[in-house]
C-alpha cells in the first residue's frame, strides 16, 4: 500500500502533536516532481544521493535517525573451553577436603526407615478416612492418620512378588501415574520392567472399547527371546488390541475408570492406597502416602526393580530352553491356518504337475479316471476350505477363496 495519503489520513493526530508541525505533511501532499528535497537517514543513501547538499537537515516523513554503528571488539567465545576446564577442575578437586565417613548405604531391601524417610507413613486428616483402611492405620498423630509401616512393607513385598512373577511369565505390565510429577517415576519403572507406562489421562474405554480406541497402534510379535518375528503382518492387521496382564496404579483416586475397566476385563491391579482411598478398587493394595512423590518414587522403583528381576529370570530360562508362557490362542490359531494353507498350496502344485503330465500324454483329452480323481480331491479340499472359512470367521480370506467357497454351497 502506498502511504501517500498518510498526511491526510493521520492528519488529525499529526497536527495535534505539538512538535510535528513542519513541512513534511505538506510535502507529502505535493504532486510536483522536483519539490522539497528528501533526506534519507541511511548514511549509505546519503552518500549515494550527493544531491541537494544545501538542505540536508529537512526532516523527512520516512527518515529515521540511524543509530551510529558502534562495533565493540568481539571477544572470542570460550564457553566450551571454560566448561571443559570447570569439569576437569571438578574432577580433580573431588578428593580434596575432609574425608566423609559414609555410614549409610542404601540396601536392596525395603526397610522401615527408608519408608519413613520417604514419608510413606503420613496419611490424610482423620476426618477424611476410609474406614476400610482401618487395618493399615497405626494411630492418629496431630490430627492425621499414621499408616503402619509394617503393613506397608508387607504389602509392598507382596506386590513386588506379583510384579516379578507376572514379568517372569511374560505378562504385559502397565504402570499408571497420572498426577503431575509422576511421569519420571512411571517411565523409569516401565523402563526397568520392560513394561508400558501411562502418565496422561486414561482414555475411558481403552480396555473395554479397545477396538475403537487402540487400533493401528503398532504391535509386534516376538519369540521367547523377545526377538521380533516376521510373517505375522496379516495377523497384526486383524488382531484385537492388547490388554494388560497387570496394572500398577500410583493414584487410584483419579483412575477409578481405569480400575473399573480392569476389573471388568479381569485384570489384576496393584494400587497405592492412602487413608482416604477405597482399597477395594484394587486387587493388591499398598497402604502408603500417595501425595508424596518421594514415597511414590520408592514404591515405583521397588516394583520396577522387581519387574526387572522377573524379566531377567525369564530371559535366562529362555536361553536354557525353558519358556514360561504359552502362545496366545489367537496367534496359535493364525499359525494353524497358515500351515493348512501351505498344505493346500502344495497339493495344488502337485495336481498341476500331474495334470500337465497327463495332458502332455493324452494331448488335450482330459476325460477319464484322472478327472474324477481331480474332482474328488477338489471337493474334499473345498469342504476343508469351508470349515476353514467358518473357523476363521472373516479372517483374511482373499476374494477368490471366498467366491469359491460360496459356489460350493
Amino acid at each position: 500500500m502506498i502511504i501517500r495519503e498518510f498526511g491526510l489520513r493521520q492528519g488529525r493526530n499529526a497536527l495535534a502533536a505539538p512538535l510535528r508541525r513542519g513541512q513534511q505533511c505538506l510535502r507529502a501532499l505535493s504532486t510536483e516532481t522536483s519539490g522539497t528535497p528528501v533526506a534519507t537517514a541511511d548514511p549509505a543513501v546519503e552518500a549515494a544521493l550527493q544531491t541537494n547538499p544545501e538542505n540536508p537537515t529537512v526532516p523527512s516523513l520516512f527518515a529515521r535517525t540511524a543509530k551510529p554503528t558502534r562495533r565493540r571488539p568481539v571477544a572470542p567465545d570460550t564457553t566450551k573451553a571454560d566448561w571443559e576446564t570447570a569439569q576437569q577442575m571438578r574432577h580433580n578437586l573431588r578428593n580434596v577436603g575432609a574425608q566423609v565417613e559414609h555410614r549409610y548405604s542404601p540396601s536392596d531391601d525395603v526397610t522401615l526407615e527408608l519408608l519413613m524417610a520417604s514419608q510413606a507413613h503420613m496419611g490424610h486428616h482423620a476426618s477424611v478416612w476410609n474406614p476400610a483402611n482401618a487395618r493399615y492405620i497405626y494411630g492418629i498423630r496431630q490430627g492425621i492418620h499414621i499408616i503402619s509401616l509394617e503393613q506397608t512393607a508387607a504389602h509392598l513385598r507382596r506386590a513386588a512378588r506379583v510384579v516379578e512373577e507376572v514379568a517372569y511369565h511374560g505378562g504385559l505390565i502397565l504402570f499408571v501415574g497420572t498426577r503431575p510429577g509422576q511421569t519420571q517415576i512411571v517411565t523409569q519403572a516401565a523402563r526397568l520392567a520392560k513394561a508400558c507406562h501411562l502418565f496422561t489421562k486414561w482414555t475411558p474405554g481403552t480396555i473395554t472399547n479397545s477396538d475403537k480406541i487402540l487400533p493401528g497402534i503398532p504391535v509386534e510379535i516376538v519369540n521367547e527371546h523377545d526377538q521380533p518375528i516376521g510373517g505375522f503382518n496379516q495377523h497384526l492387521m486383524d488382531r484385537r488390541a492388547l490388554v494388560p496382564d497387570l496394572v500398577v496404579c500410583l493414584n487410584p483416586l483419579e483412575n477409578f475408570t481405569m480400575l473399573r475397566e480392569c476389573s471388568q476385563a479381569n485384570v489384576p491391579t496393584i494400587g497405592i492406597v492412602d487413608t482416604n482411598t477405597e482399597p477395594t478398587w484394587v486387587t493388591y493394595a499398598i497402604p502408603a502416602n500417595d501425595d508424596s512423590l518421594r514415597c511414590l518414587a520408592v514404591i515405583g522403583s521397588v516394583l520396577g526393580r522387581a519387574g526387572e528381576a522377573g524379566q531377567k529370570r525369564r530371559m535366562e530360562d529362555a536361553k536354557n530352553g525353558k519358556v514360561t508362557w504359552d502362545t496366545p490362542s489367537e496367534i496359535k490359531q493364525f499359525m494353524e491356518i497358515q500351515q493348512k494353507r501351505a498344505r493346500w498350496a502344495k497339493r495344488a502344485a502337485d495336481e498341476e504337475a500331474a495334470a500337465s503330465d497327463t495332458s502332455g500324454g493324452l494331448n488335450g483329452n482330459s476325460s477319464g479316471g484322472g478327472a474324477t480323481k481331480d474332482s474328488e480331491v477338489f471337493d474334499e479340499s473345498m469342504q476343508e476350505l469351508q470349515m476353514e472359512v467358518d473357523a476363521a470367521n472373516a479372517d483374511d480370506v482373499s476374494p477368490q477363496l471366498r467366491k469359491m467357497a460360496r459356489r460350493t454351497d
Binding site: 526407615e113 497405626y138 490362542s329
Partner: protein, 254 residues
C-alpha cells in the same frame, strides 16, 4: 477435589475366582478359555483380606468407663511424654524455633547413638530444644526422686550455659576474622535501609517524569494561544507539585 462416597468394588479382589469360573464353564464345551498369564501368580500370591474390621493398635490404657463400643475399633491417638516437654520448652523459648535445624539423618537409627547421660552435647547433633527434651526425659526416667520441674530447671540451666558458650565462641571467632581482614557483608538492617533508599529514588524519578508529562500536556493545551497570556495559572500547579516532590524527597530516611 470433591468426591462422593467411595463405592465398594467386589470384582478386583475376586479376579481369580471369576476367571476360574469362566474357565470351568460348561455352557459351550468346545469354546476353550485360555488361562491368563497372571492366573498361576494370583493363585500362589492371593490378595490380602481387607474388609474385616481389626482391633486397632492400642496406645493407652483401656478406659473402664468408656461406654461406646464403636470407639473400640477406631484408631487411637499417638501421645508421647516428650510432646508435653517439647511444648513447654518451646513456649518458654519461642526463638529457639527460629534457629536453623538439621533434619538430615544417616540411616534412621541416629537416635540410638545418643547417650543422654553424658549431657546435652551429642555427636553429630547440633544443640537444640530437642536435646533439652531428650535429656530431661532421661533424667526423669533414671534419676530417682526427680520431678519434672526439677529436671527441666536443671537441663535448662545446662542449656543456657552451652548456648552462652556458643555465643561467645562465635563472637570471638568473628572478631578474630575481622582482625585479619574478613568482611561479612552488610547486616540485615543495612540491607533493608538500602532497599528502602532504592525505592525512594525510583519514586523520585517516576514523580519527576509525571510532572514533566503534566507540564507538557499543559503547554500543548495552551500552545494555540499566546503562551504568556496566563503564566501563573499554568505554573502554579506544577510549582506546587515540584515543591511537594522536593519536600518528600528531602525527608531523611528513618
Amino acid at each position: 477435589m470433591v468426591r462422593g462416597p467411595a463405592q465398594r468394588q467386589v470384582r478386583p479382589a475376586r479376579v481369580y475366582q471369576t476367571v476360574t469360573t469362566l474357565m470351568e464353564h460348561r455352557i459351550k464345551p468346545r469354546l476353550a478359555v485360555q488361562q491368563p498369564v497372571w492366573y498361576k501368580v494370583v493363585e500362589s500370591i492371593p490378595p490380602s483380606e481387607i474388609l474385616t474390621r481389626p482391633f486397632p493398635p492400642q496406645h493407652r490404657q483401656p478406659n473402664p468407663r468408656a461406654r461406646k463400643a464403636s470407639r473400640l475399633f477406631q484408631p487411637q491417638k499417638l501421645v508421647y511424654k516428650e510432646d508435653e516437654l517439647r511444648k513447654k520448652f518451646y513456649t518458654d523459648h519461642p526463638w529457639e524455633l527460629a534457629r536453623p535445624r538439621m533434619i538430615i539423618e544417616m540411616d534412621g537409627k541416629d537416635a540410638l547413638r545418643c547417650d543422654w547421660s553424658k549431657g546435652l552435647r551429642q555427636p553429630g547433633m547440633p544443640l537444640s530444644g530437642e536435646c533439652v527434651v531428650q535429656r530431661q526425659m532421661y533424667l526423669m526416667e533414671n534419676v530417682p526422686g526427680i520431678t519434672e520441674d526439677t529436671a527441666y530447671d536443671q537441663v535448662r540451666k545446662e542449656f543456657y550455659k552451652l548456648r552462652q558458650e556458643e555465643e561467645i565462641e562465635r563472637r570471638i571467632a568473628q572478631e578474630e576474622a575481622r582482625m585479619v581482614g574478613a568482611y561479612f557483608g552488610q547486616t540485615f538492617n543495612q540491607v533493608g535501609m538500602k532497599l528502602e533508599d532504592q525505592q525512594f529514588e525510583r519514586w523520585k524519578r517516576w514523580a519527576t517524569r509525571e510532572i514533566e508529562k503534566i507540564q507538557g500536556e499543559q503547554t500543548a493545551a495552551y500552545s494555540s494561544f499566546d503562551a504568556s497570556e496566563d503564566p501563573e495559572a499554568a505554573d502554579l500547579d506544577v510549582d506546587s507539585l515540584r515543591e511537594d516532590l522536593e519536600s518528600t524527597a528531602n525527608i531523611p530516611p528513618a
